[in-house]
């Protein structure tokens, strides 16, 4: 589904990714762990299409197409969704309206009929219920004045509404209490299917207690330096990121 090949990317002339390789197949959940500054968030933003990150070399192929040629909204239309590490406040824009416009834009791009307000509200309520979330978030402006936990819940609500083919969670777990963490995990696990893939970027192993990854990667210095199964995450948790640095130096 996703093939990242020798990816080099920089921001403001500073190289962040230095030859990253990653292959994700349908049905798989991959976790990427790594210390601060290793390039985790850069990878997610490059995948989502943030223009200030410049890809200097390498390629990203998504479902057989060159992902780098697509605008952010086209990537969303093709089924890519990134849950933001820091969701953006949009004052004055009602959250329900935003969710409705987003879903309809994607449905339209896919050639599906747009949903009217009644059908949309029915759908959004069912998603909220499945995630044990209340409707309070719907009436407010997009992320405006939301607590950290509310912002992340809103990201998961969007993900469950948009039903992406490839979901990228950029440190969605950071700063969350255990209840919010369970909502995130529930959102991910509900979406899990043989047709979909997920990329879970996290600093801590904690989230992986609730989301079972198929593959765990360790990112350091802008490239993946080790990949393994779930036990790699536990090893990392036990030994700390210092161990990775030592590992790298030894290699």
């Amino acid at each position: 589904m996703l093939q990242v090949n020798d990816l080099h990317a920089s921001i403001n002339g500073k190289a962040i990714l230095n030859g990253l390789n990653l292959t994700i197949k349908p049905g798989e959940i991959h976790a990427i762990m790594g210390p601060n500054g290793s390039g985790k968030s850069t990878l997610s933003k490059v995948l989502a299409g943030r223009e200030e990150y410049v890809v200097t070399s390498g390629s990203i192929t998504y479902q057989g197409q060159n992902l780098l040629e697509l605008a952010p909204e086209e990537r969303a239309h093709q089924g890519i969704f990134m849950a933001f590490q820091y969701p953006v406040e949009i004052p004055g824009v009602n959250n329900t309206y935003f969710l409705h416009m987003s879903l309809n834009a994607i449905r339209k791009a896919r050639g599906e009929p747009e949903l009217n307000s009644v059908d949309f509200m029915r759908l959004v309520r069912s998603k909220l219920k499945a995630l044990n979330m209340d409707e309070g978030l719907l009436k407010r402006y997009v992320n405006t004045g939301f607590s950290g936990g509310e912002m992340k819940r809103n990201e998961i609500l969007q993900m469950s509404l948009l039903e992406p083919t490839l979901a990228i969670l950029d440190e969605t777990d950071s700063g969350l209490d255990i209840d919010a963490l369970k909502i995130v995990a529930k959102g991910v696990n509900t979406l899990r299917s043989p047709q979909r893939a997920m990329l879970v970027i996290t600093h801590y192993q904690r989230l992986l207690d609730y989301i079972q990854p198929d593959v765990v990667h360790v990112l350091s210095g802008g490239k993946i330096i080790r990949s393994g199964d779930k036990s790699l995450a536990l090893e990392l948790e036990a030994k700390g990121y210092g161990w990775i640095q030592d590992y790298q130096e030894a290699a």
């Binding site: 605008a71 952010p72 239309h77 990134m82 004052p91 004055g92 824009v93 987003s102």
Partner: protein, 439 residues
């Protein structure tokens, strides 16, 4: 026309009034005629006119509008009205009060009549208040409006009245003549403890070229509460000058939301002062300046007594070759301890060719006060744009949503849905048009 020609023109118009058969009940009108002969044309040396040279805007010798019969019909009002058909409605056509198209009250708690007839009947309130606020520190156009006072409109809400429905004030610009001068004049008195709201709209039914010079004076008695929403959506050739004077007595509340969309040039002046303590004034404003348009907003809020509060919150979106001026002046006099005054202005520039001159000013002469001011000028936030696009929303629609949201924080304070929706429609149309034109 150069400055001397312009001055000569308006001085002549004012002087002509003295040859008319007016009954000079109102000494202030005569005084205003004299003022017009002496006052200079506002010029850029004056702080509040610094960014807007007037001569290019007054290049035409605007002639006083005449009352044109059989031009405006009930159907037009039906089309323009923003309140239910049965609501109280004051209709002005090129500044002339049209009782036959208005919807006037039959109960005693609300009075709507022409200022001229109230003066003729010796109404003490009107005699005392008409020109009381606008006469102070007036500039040429305030004086001109008073000097050339026609019928005018007097709205009085009796003490204790609680109005469930808003009173609509509808200004319609429509004429066979071109290059005319309209001068609407309103006096609003809200009695003690009364509660009311006014929905005011300035609309053009044709692409008229006019100078609309309006003066409104509002007096709130103790404990009165007035919600006042104004939409200016005149033709793109109109020069619109609106001067609003408010005096608030003890414990009164005034909320104004002004939305400026139309006109080649519009200037709205808000003059607020207090005649009692514990009063609150909220001024909200939004301006949308499209290509070749300019909007000026001038605030002059004077905290002259202790314990009053004011919140002024203005926002603007500028497109193409447009311009806006925000000149927000809050003065806290030495006696005005325990004042709470807030002032903010935020601007969104959608074009490199747009110009905003923003100048919040706080002059504080008391020591025990809470005051703040802030200004922002920016472009569309890239983070917001990316967030919306990453959710599948196309670029143009995302820009539209951000702008609409930005404006809606002000539009949404009107408290009258049909006015808010009309404003949203006008905004959406203009944003879409600019998008097609490429910015």
């Amino acid at each position: 026309m150069n400055t001397p020609d312009i001055l000569h023109h308006y001085r002549q118009l004012a002087a002509d009034q003295t040859t008319m058969a007016h009954d000079w009940h109102n000494r202030r009108q005569l005084h205003a005629v004299m003022q017009v002969q002496e006052l200079p044309l506002p010029e850029r040396g004056q702080e509040s006119w610094r960014y807007t040279p007037l001569p290019p805007l007054l290049d035409t010798a605007f002639q006083p509008a005449a009352l044109e019969q059989d031009l405006l019909f009930a159907d037009d009002i039906e089309q323009l009205r923003l309140t239910p058909a049965a609501s109280l409605r004051i209709v002005l056509h090129n500044g002339f009060f049209l009782p036959e198209l208005s919807n006037l009250p039959d109960d005693g708690s609300i009075r709507i009549e022409s200022l001229r007839s109230a003066l003729a009947n010796g109404d003490k309130t009107v005699q005392a208040h008409l020109g009381e606020l606008s006469g102070e520190q007036s500039h040429l156009f305030h004086a001109l409006n008073t000097a050339m006072l026609g019928e005018g409109v007097y709205l009085h809400i009796a003490a204790g009245a609680q109005l469930a429905q808003p009173i609509e004030v509808l200004h319609v610009s429509l004429s066979f003549a071109s290059e005319y001068l309209a001068q609407p004049r309103l006096l609003v008195v809200v009695g003690e403890g009364a509660q009311a709201s006014i929905v005011e709209q300035y609309a053009s039914l044709a692409d008229v070229l006019c100078l609309n010079n309006t003066v409104t004076e509002i007096f709130l008695h103790a404990g009165a509460n007035l919600e006042h929403s104004r939409l200016q959506n005149e033709s793109l050739r109109t020069r619109h000058l609106a001067s609003l004077y408010v005096q608030q007595a003890e414990g009164s509340h005034y909320r104004n939301t002004t939305l400026a969309f139309g006109g080649a040039w519009s200037r709205t002046e808000f003059h607020v002062r207090f005649s009692g303590t514990g009063a609150n004034c909220r001024l909200n404003g939004f301006y949308l300046a499209g290509d070749k348009q300019s909007h000026d907003m001038h605030l002059n809020v004077v905290h002259n007594l202790p314990g009053c509060s004011s919140q002024s919150h203005f926002k603007g979106i500028l497109q193409g070759h447009s311009k806006a001026v925000f000149d927000g002046n809050i003065e806290v006099k030495p006696a005005a301890q325990k004042t709470d005054a807030r002032l903010s202005n935020a601007n969104l520039l959608l074009s490199r060719d747009a110009e905003i001159d923003t100048k919040p000013r706080l002059e504080i002469y008391a020591d025990d006060v809470q005051c703040s001011h802030g200004t922002t000028v920016g472009q569309i936030d890239e983070e917001m744009l990316f967030y919306l696009r990453s959710r599948g929303i196309p670029h143009a629609q995302a820009v539209n949503m951000i702008c609409t949201g930005f404006a809606d924080e002000v539009i949404g304070t009107c408290g009258w849905e049909s006015l808010e929706n009309l404003a949203r429609e006008v905004l959406a149309r203009q944003l879409a048009a600019a998008m097609v034109a490429g910015g």
